[in-house]
């Protein structure tokens, strides 16, 4: 007896996808047509993607890396020729019928989202700040802190202790102020060149594996004709920050993961 298969959904688009280059990535990659929409799917083994199997596999980082990359590659391939609504990793249906029912229920909304996404791309901008170097530059450039340092040297130990504490607080405040100022300024300048923008959770160092701290994790929905201006602005900001201990990482174009929220959800959250 052959193993039961589930339907894995990658993305939905309104143009017939060309899947020739992605056929090698997964078995049975195919699209599913319903009411003017194409759902790009593959058949996956229940032992790997069923509730039990997925639970086990999601704890295996190598499995997650490989399969998340495949998910992304397939959507990128479809995105090369069409606007796409990307689904989250691991969206599975028991049967073609349950997928069809979902498409039936959301077809109008998917079409609305696809119209919104037309001729636009998602770009990601992450900004990192080197807190240690920022502290150094603050110490050397802020007159108030320099003044306190002078006072500490000429003060008796008791007073010096409290001055030292005050200095640490001022330093932390000033570093935070700089981080907020730069990240907000960058976000707003880029937001002005975008249709939509959003700010996401900051990722900790354990995840980024970088020495410096993530201070902004943002995404922008940019018109294809405005991408040049957007990149120019990123370059301008990069130059502006070069000696200020900030690093900007801009990536794209991405499938619009951050900009295809469903209306029902927005109403629910309103």
């Amino acid at each position: 007896m052959t193993e039961n298969r589930l339907v894995y959904l990658y993305c939905v688009t309104n143009e017939e996808p060309n899947l020739t280059e992605t056929e090698d990535l997964v078995d049975d990659l195919c699209f599913f047509y319903h009411r003017g929409l194409y759902a790009v799917t593959s058949k996956v083994k229940e032992s790997k993607f069923g509730e039990e199997g997925l639970k086990k596999n999601m704890a295996d980082i190598e499995w997650v890396k490989a399969n998340a990359s495949t998910h992304e590659k397939i959507i990128e391939q479809v995105m090369a020729n069409a606007d796409v609504i990307p689904f989250k990793f691991g969206t599975l249906f028991n049967t073609d019928d349950s997928l069809r029912a979902m498409l039936e229920e959301y077809s109008e909304e998917f079409k609305t989202i696809l119209r919104k996404l037309e001729n636009k791309q998602e770009w990601g901008v992450k900004i990192y700040g080197d807190t240690d170097k920022l502290k150094e530059s603050v110490i050397n450039n802020e007159s108030e802190i320099l003044k306190i340092e002078g006072e500490i040297k000429s003060s008796p130990p008791g007073k010096a202790f409290f001055l030292e504490k005050k200095k640490t607080e001022l330093l932390a405040q000033e570093v935070n102020r700089k981080i907020n100022e730069y990240s907000q300024e960058s976000f707003h300048l880029l937001e002005e060149l975008s249709f939509e923008a959003c700010i996401n959770k900051l990722l900790p160092k354990e995840v980024t594996e970088r020495e410096d701290n993530m201070v902004l994790n943002s995404a922008f929905l940019v018109g294809k004709n405005e991408v040049g201006d957007f990149i120019n602005m990123v370059d301008t900001l990069k130059m502006h920050y070069e000696n200020k201990e900030f690093f900007i990482d801009c990536t794209g174009p991405w499938p619009p993961y951050n900009f295809c929220g469903l209306l029902k959800q927005r109403v629910r959250n309103a």
Partner: protein, 71 residues
């Protein structure tokens, strides 16, 4: 297509994981399995914590999708 910058091949896996595990449309409804609330949290040995659950089998069950999060 305006290809001023093509995506560099060395886009880190982190960038991919940050999106595909956390963003994208999430549908819940009739007989749908979905990976829920994956946090990109690594423990000492780089174990990715995650949870997987079967969505409630009710029509019009809560739908969550990308949304703005507090920093």
């Amino acid at each position: 297509m305006h290809n001023v910058v093509t995506k560099s091949r060395d886009v880190t896996l982190l960038e991919v994981l940050d999106r595909v595990l956390d963003k994208g449309v999430v549908i819940s409804g009739d007989a749908v399995i979905s990976v829920a609330d994956v946090d990109l949290i690594y423990l000492g040995l780089k174990v990715l914590l995650s949870s997987v659950e079967t969505m409630e089998q009710s029509r019009g069950a809560p739908i969550t999708g990308p949304m703005q999060e507090p920093t």
